[in-house]
Amino acid sequence: MHKLGRGHRDKVQQFMTITGASEKIALQALKASDWHLEGAFDFFYSQPHIKSYTDTTRLEELYNRYKDPYTDMILVDGITLLCNDLQVDPQDIIMLVVSWHMKASTMCEYSKEEFFIGLQALGIDSLEKFRERIPFMRSELKDEQKFHEIYNFAFGWAKEKGQKSLALDTAIGMWQLLFAEKQWPLVDHWCQFLQARHNKAISRDTWSQLLEFARTIDPALSNYDAEGAWPYLIDEFVEYMNENGIIQNGQFSDRSQK
């Protein structure tokens, strides 16, 4: 430790406090990420063999606080309570990230296992720690790869159990939420289009391909290949945009502001 500079020492301290890891691990993680804290967290949490320094008893206590009185699961009321405790809105996208860490199978409920998995992965065993993790989780949304995973996870999570497709309303809600983070200019047009022309559930393929579309195609749709393998619905969307004069001569002439 004495070999390190002041700034680095601080980072190691910070790291150890937040993750509860040992100095050795902290150094390892920070060196691997070139002394960037965010990257170091990333490194630390993606190591599957690193034991999470969480106290299982405390986790149990936390779980019991939220669990439903009649079933061994956390249901809607529990989740609302949790959100209150965390001081976040239940509609906040952070809950999606939490669910992703938990690998929750469906929205509005967490099984005990899912709760444990998620919190352990995040190194949380108390509400303070939970609150402290929130900025980190928000940062995960900015990471391209993680956003991709979270986005694709959202489909399975948001749809009804036993259904293959996602109901249109739910899909639109999720898209509004997700693309608020990612800033896709066409999201409103997309939702309008779906409501006007489609009115049916969304398939998984369309869901995942839409992210590709938002990522790679520019808002003026100038690099869109109509002969490509884009899902049928996206082809229709492009046609819709051209028909309604929103895209003219490859120029995005959208007058409606968000």
């Binding site: 393929d205 490509g228 049928y232 082809d235």
Partner: protein, 733 residues
């Protein structure tokens, strides 16, 4: 022969005397020819000078002397005679001295022959006649080669302008060029042919540039044909055959390739005009001229395609604009299209020798306008109706059998150009069913022949159901005979009415709505009797009765006279209700019959508001309403003893189109799965094109429909997108 050594000087002296004698002979001086004895002496002298051991072996010296003698001969006698001569005179003189040289070499070589046998090989030296050739080349040829080349080319030029020239002279001169090459054509090609070709090119370029201005396309083409023929003759008469390909190519390039666009596009006489004015000969010539030029036919085929497309499209529009009655209009359209097809097919066969390019051009052109009829009905439906008109009774009985066959054959050919072949099959099948079931087919042979033509064109699967239908009818006839036997042997079972039942195998025939009509008792008995009979034949098959396709003959006992009414089974069921009641309301009929409103309205309308009013309706309006009352119209009469009361059929068009669309979705689905199962991993574009290929026999699939099915298969977890590359799909076993 004495084997003694000879002194060189003496030996050479002897030989040289012989050489001098030879020269005098060649000069034409009166000199006796060599006797064989003299020849042998000379040969032996040489032999004796060579077949010795050193130092009496004078082979090398003799070899050198041979060359010296020749060189001396050439420079003193041959070359001088060439000097100062030009043009044709030069050529003649050259040929003369060439001949002399050859003779000299031949004789000398004979004298010195022994050298050729051993010395030459032993020392790897050039053989004697090679030496002879080299001397000539170095001392004569090299000096005059340019001049003789030019002179020869001038002569050729003169011949092109129409003068007669000495062909054999030219031939001989060119032989020299070849000979000088000593086994290779290099001298001929480099020293003569190259410039000859260049000159030819320049010549024809000049000619072409003026002809293209002055002449019409046919005139120009005639001239080209002439020129090409003349050039070929030239090769035959004096040029080497190896020149032919290059020469013809050069001429073709200057005359045909350089000006191809201007020639074909000539306003009043170019390709388009020739097609317009049916100039078959000129078009044949055009084909002949351009078929040997690589890609020369492409623009011609293109113009052909454009022309046919324009003609076809104009035809479709003209008939669309004409104000004939709808059915007639479409019939006329198809006839005209068939005529157009025959006309241009003749061009393809006669003028264009059935060349692939033109067959395809015709096909592509027809595909463009055959699929866009400009009416409500698709071209698939029109074609089916057209065939129906010809095949049904009262359709085309005025035409001879051959004419009918020919028309049907042409109609089937048109099918190749229509995209929705499966739609045609459905319409055809529906109409075939009507013809077969209502006995409206004019001629069994024609029916079968059309089916076999369709099978040839579109494959067995296309016609298998239809053939099944025709077979069903034949079987039913046999079956009926058996039924009659059955009735004869079980007279108690006889229903009291003449009954004919046609049995249809479900898969072959179009699907029909089953109906739960309440039949009159008499008919019920018929059904039971037949069921009994059928069970004796087979217990494994289930009979479903489709009364909507039946006909019934009723005797209408009207006041004035009894008239036989030919009606459908449904109509008969309605009428027979009036055997027991005088007057019935709409709803009473409805209840007793158990029909649908849609059907009942149609039925009642045909019986009370149409041409023959068998029932009288209250109120006497033109349409059926649910509050109407009906009575048997005993006052009805007609001068005929037997009348047919038609029941207009329901328009099935929409349903047919829906059915075909549904079938297409299955077909696309199956095609995608088939392709992916084989390929395992495939890119989107390739998948689509392979599907289109697979389905092309039957119909032209919509790319969007294919895309939808792909996505459907992804949802059903038959396929998945590749994670790295979303444009590629993987088959999930």
């Amino acid at each position: 022969m004495e084997s003694k050594t000879i002194d060189f000087e003496r030996g050479w002296d002897h030989v040289y005397k012989g050489i001098k004698q030879l020269r005098r002979i060649l000069e034409g001086l009166p000199e006796p020819l060599f006797t064989s004895g003299e020849y042998v002496m000379l040969y032996s002298t040489v032999y004796n000078m060579c077949a010795r051991n050193p130092p009496h072996n004078y082979s090398q010296q003799l070899y050198d002397k041979y060359r010296e003698v020749l060189e001396e001969y050439i420079t003193s006698t041959l070359s001088p005679s060439l000097r100062g001569k030009r043009d044709e005179f030069l050529l003649r003189e050259l040929v003369k001295i060439w001949v002399n040289h050859k003779v000299m070499v031949r004789w000398l070589s004979r004298f010195f022959n022994y050298l050729d046998r051993y010395f030459v090989d032993y020392r790897s030296l050039p053989a004697l006649n090679e030496v002879g050739m080299t001397c000539f080349t170095d001392l004569v040829y090299r000096e005059v080669q340019t001049n003789i080349k030019d002179a020869a080319i001038v002569l050729i030029g003169k011949e092109r302008e129409g003068d007669r020239i000495d062909c054999s002279l030219l031939k001989n001169v060119l032989d020299i060029f070849v000979a000088v090459g000593m086994g290779s054509m290099e001298r001929y090609e480099d020293d003569f042919e190259a410039d000859m070709l260049r000159d030819t090119g320049a010549y024809y370029s000049r000619k072409a540039s003026s002809w293209i201005e002055e002449d019409s396309c046919p005139e120009y083409m005639l001239k080209c044909e002439e020129c090409l023929k003349k050039e070929r003759d030239r090769v035959f008469h004096y040029l080497r055959s190896s020149s032919e390909v290059k020469l013809i190519e050069k001429v073709q390039h200057e005359l045909l390739v350089t000006y191809i666009d201007r020639l074909l596009e000539k306003e009043h006489s170019g390709c388009r005009a020739l097609l317009r004015d049916d100039k078959a000969d000129d078009l044949s010539r055009m084909y002949r001229l351009y078929c040997k030029i690589p890609r020369g036919l492409d623009p011609v085929a293109d113009i052909f395609k454009q022309h046919v497309t324009a003609e076809g499209t104009a035809l479709v529009q003209a008939i669309g604009a004409a104000s004939n009655a709808p059915g007639v209009q479409e019939h006329v359209l198809l006839r005209k299209i068939i005529e157009l097809h025959c006309k241009y097919m003749a061009y393809v066969t006669d003028c264009f020798q059935n060349h692939n390019l033109f067959c395809n051009a015709l096909k592509d052109a027809f595909k463009v306008f055959c699929n866009n009829t400009g009416t409500d009905s698709s071209s698939a439906e029109l074609l089916a109706t057209f065939c129906d008109d010809i095949l049904k009774k009262g359709g085309s009985e005025k035409l001879s059998d051959e004419a009918i066959e020919e028309t049907l054959e042409n109609a089937v050919k048109l099918l190749a150009y229509i995209n929705d072949r499966d739609l045609f099959a459905e319409f055809y099948r529906k109409k075939l069913a009507r013809r077969l079931l209502f006995d409206r087919s004019a001629n069994d042979d024609h029916e079968r022949s059309v089916l076999s033509k369709l099978k040839q064109q579109c494959g067995e699967q296309f016609t298998s159901k239809m053939e099944g239908m025709v077979t069903d009818i034949t079987l039913s006839r046999e079956n009926h005979a058996a039924f009659e036997d059955y009735l004869r042997s079980n007279s108690a079972a006889h229903p009291g009415i003449d009954l004919t039942v046609t049995i249809l195998t479900t898969g072959f025939w179009p699907s029909y709505k089953p109906c739960n009509l309440n039949l009159p008792t008499e008919m019920i008995k018929c059904v039971e009797v037949f069921k009994g009979f059928y069970e004796t034949k087979t217990k494994h098959k289930k009979l479903t009765w489709i009364y909507s396709l039946g006909t019934c003959n009723l005797s209408g006992m009207f006041d004035q006279k009894t008239i036989e009414l030919v009606v459908s089974t449904h109509q008969a069921a309605v009428l027979m209700l009036f055997n027991t009641s005088d007057r019935l309301s709409y709803s009473e009929i409805m209840d007793q019959l158990n029909s649908t409103h849609e059907d009942l309205v149609r039925l009642l309308h045909s019986l009370s508001c149409a041409k023959y009013k068998i029932l009288s309706k209250q109120p006497d309006t033109k349409t059926i309403s649910r509050s109407d009352y009906f009575e048997f119209n005993s006052k009805f009469t007609n001068k005929l003893r037997r009348i047919k009361i038609p029941l207009p059929p329901v328009d099935e068009k929409k349903k047919i189109v829906e059915d075909v669309d549904k079938d297409r979705r299955y077909a696309i689905d199956a095609a995608i799965v088939r392709v992916m199962k084989t390929r395992k991993v495939l890119g989107y574009q390739q998948l689509v094109s392979e599907c289109v290929e697979q389905l092309s026999q039957t119909f032209k699939p919509d790319i969007k429909a294919i895309k939808k099915q792909i996505e459907d298969l992804i949802t059903r977890e038959f396929l998945e997108r590749d994670e790295e590359n979303p444009n590629t799909f993987k088959y999930l076993a």
